[in-house]
Symmetry: C2
Subunit: 218 residues, 2 copies
């Protein structure tokens, strides 16, 4: 009787363990499959994202501590950078103003890693003091801009044609550190498609082959 | 036999009609219940929204044709105005720049109709040429603004604590008519809560009781 009870108890424990493992696996799978839905508010708390950039540049390389005094915790900026650095195939950027050197480094890094980066920006803002557009063009990234009096005022990014990052935030250090801003990060096929279509429309419209110049109009 | 066949056919027709009605009712109920998920892109095609404003001011009153030559069709602007005018209890506005007279009329109309309107804006932009903030304050609408060097750069509205309207669009005529802009309209409890919480934080932070003045600092 004692041996039978012990065998029964052992079977019970094994069953419970198997059940617990199955539940844990199901939860992990659900977490992986659950689409991203994130709202980020700025100003971001000050933070250092050097470790994030280093890890993206050389995955698995031993971490070198950054000498700056800023914490490298979880902030709106670090979350934004993480989402951007998750790109594997493509990054489509539609940005009114892009003068934040940190975000430019992240974009350049993706370009070097072989991610296809396309950038649409505003003609009147791309030459402003501190603009990163020239640096990105110099690095070989394709950039197109408008030719209108109206602004190309969007501030969105699409990662791998899968994740939309959009809001009020221009990619400037002032906006990240000092302004009240919002950014939505969504993996939602319907929203991504609407913004991807808008990106492709603008990309074609701003094709340099369509630019008109004053001399041609004479 | 003929009479039986005719009766059978009549029963069949009645059953089909009842089924069709049930399906139509179910579809209508599903449409009503389905949360709003809309993406609006600007510039908006030119349109006249006088009929929309008149209907909101005096529901059911006979329509008076507007003498302007613009069409009154379905555009990004008319959709935005329709969503705003659907407010019944509250409208919380968090707007960097508000100089579009048409949108100011829509907001004033809601205020007159008894909707509780609260408006947060940016101190440096509220005094700009064409700003509607003075007019709205004069109409009795509560307005609060920041006291910082950073911008209050949000551009969102929350209708009845239920529908979020957010994007890149400042509420200016230039943005609506000339810029490339986006606006998301979503009835999504999670996103609404995040933005409503941000609104309440800012509303409290910008309480005039917290303002500091130069003379006090001396």
């Amino acid at each position: 009787m004692g041996a039978m009870r012990a065998a029964g108890a052992a079977r019970g424990v094994a069953l419970a363990a198997a059940l617990a493992t199955a539940v844990a696996l199901a939860v992990a799978a659900w977490r992986r499959a659950r689409p991203v839905r994130e709202v980020l508010f700025f100003p971001s708390r000050p933070c250092c994202i050097e470790a994030l950039l280093a890890e993206a540049a050389e995955p698995g390389a031993p971490a070198r501590p950054c000498p700056c005094p800023l914490p490298s915790g979880d902030t709106a900026l670090s979350r934004l950078v993480r989402r951007l650095l998750s790109a594997r195939r493509s990054l489509d950027l539609c940005l009114f103003s892009f003068s934040c050197p940190l975000l430019a480094r992240a974009v350049q890094l993706l370009h070097r890693r072989g991610v296809r980066v396309r950038l649409v920006t505003d003609a009147q803002y791309m030459g402003m003091h501190g603009s990163q557009i020239g640096r990105l063009r110099h690095a070989g990234i394709q950039v197109r801009h408008d030719q209108h009096s109206g602004y190309m005022h969007h501030k969105f990014a699409i990662v791998d044609r899968r994740m939309l990052i959009t809001g009020s935030l221009n990619w400037t250090t002032q906006a990240i550190q000092s302004n009240r801003e919002n950014v939505l990060v969504v993996e939602d096929a319907e929203y991504v498609k609407a913004f991807q279509d808008e990106f492709e429309r603008i990309w074609e419209e701003y094709n340099p082959a369509n630019y008109s110049f004053f001399s041609e109009r004479q």
